[in-house]
Amino acid sequence: MSLLELRCVDFAWPGGRGVLDQLSLTVDQGSMAAILGPNGAGKTTLLDVCLGWKKPQAGGVFLQERPLSSFGRGERGRLMSLVPQHENVRFDFSVTEYVLLGRAPHLRPLAAPGKRDLAIAMEALEATGIVHLALRSIARLSGGEYQLMLIARSLAQEPSLLLLDEPASQLDPANQLRVVRMLRTLASRGISVLYTSHNPQTAAVAADTIHLLSDGRLRFSGPPQEVLTERNLLEVYGVPLHVVWAAKNPHFYWDVD
């Protein structure tokens, strides 16, 4: 069953510049899909459209085969969560206080989180492996810990679909691996994951399906070994990228000269 479906979506800024052009995309239940493309291809805008934060000028967004616009705000928040690329939290919450904010769509209008919510937040911290940071001030987290905390917050939302914007782009290799493994664990537990990446490597190692996006259009969609060919990548990135398959994973490099 398709969890999220975009049908022929057009999105343009009020000034007129088109960002998404006749874009159709399906995310199945429990699948893990990556949107891969160069900077400025429209990846973040695509996530915003999925989230209902930006309204497309044409086409439709469907969640569980129902139009997204027919969902209440809380209902949508219980189904879909977002990990943005940059999230600047201006106040000095503790990690647990911050992760508890993920419970917002599950709470009654004037309620604050209770014991059950706290237990769910702790589970999210456990799933992301940062229980030891529960009481830490978020001003004192490293970049990797911060990213894991954002993911924990979105897990506390208990979503069916997790949207992540460049979840690994600012992390060192060890933390990239941690995030990728975690996303795969989540997908194996039935949570669908849709994430963006400008780096073919992080897209290739984790996703079942890769959507290659450039200039607001989906150029190619399919499993990594079909989509990540040198020809396709040249078309999308505009520079020749070499692909070597080793140990079932593709590896990418380019010639400097």
């Binding site: 977002l82 529960a134 001030s137």
Partner: protein
Amino acid sequence: MAQVPESRRAPGAQGGGVGLPRPGTGTSPSQPRDGTRFLLLLLLLLVAVAALSVFLGRYPAPGFLSLHTLFHDPLAQRLVLAIRLPRIVAGILLGMSLGAAGTVFQMVFANPLVEPGFLGVSQGAAFGAALGIVAVSANPAIVEASALVFALGGLWLSWILARLIRYGGWILRLVLAGIAVSALFSAGIGAVKLVADPLSQLQEITFWLLGGLWNVTWRDVLFVAPPAVVGLSVVYLLRWKLNVLSLDERVAHSLGSAPGRERVLVLFSATLATAAVVSVSGLIGWVGLMIPHAARRLCGTDAAKSLPSSMLLGAVFILLCDDLARTVLPVEIPLGILTSVLGAGAFITLMIARREERNR
């Protein structure tokens, strides 16, 4: 994952309410951070300070009024009932409103440097008061009504202007509009001062701008209480939600909230309360800016606790300052001067002390 030492282990196992952990707990387990207990303590402190304030004053002599005098001196009874009590109630409302509104503004604008008068409210009230004094009379009822009308007018103008600005996100537009409207009203105050009678009206205006509660009566309290209580109640009920509203707009949206509408609701409620109290007290500096910082320092960032603690702390602070204002010298010291001096002093101390806490 490595074993976590018991003292740093996450809460939940600790029983007794949802004790949210907060920064610093891990490094100083000796300090219990039970927010509820802290709030209760603050509430007791407020009650104690309010009770003391009833007895403190300069009648019959500077210092405390004895119970004996209170029971046998009809003048003392009238003084307490007609002057001190309304003044104390107004002080509590003023402190609570400024503290709560300061927290709301700082959270919603995600900026720890804004204060409640920001959206044209303070300068609007000041302009209204000055205009009332010059154009009509120094009758307090007229001055207050005029201040309230222009305070709300300042909010309304900022609101309209923010809707018209065709640039930036909603919050940025509100900020720009608030700055512009405040500047307009400041210019207006200057103009009114220019035409004011320097021997009487100008002094009235200056005294009003310095702020104080010296002429508060029960009539004033009845005038101020309804909007203040309504505004404070809305903000209090939505206190946990303020955390969500302090996040980026799209994140708040992804959390199932309507950031635009909800932010407007809490901002409007906070401003309503501020406009009401300021129209009686005049400009009281520093409270709305400093008290929320102090509250966050003392009981953590989570607005579910820092908002009520900011309200209580604001009320205690105003009562103490007002006690000094009316007791120390034979003449009244303007409250705004005291809050600024003591507030800035306390603020600097707080920011310098306990440096292990923060790094921003």
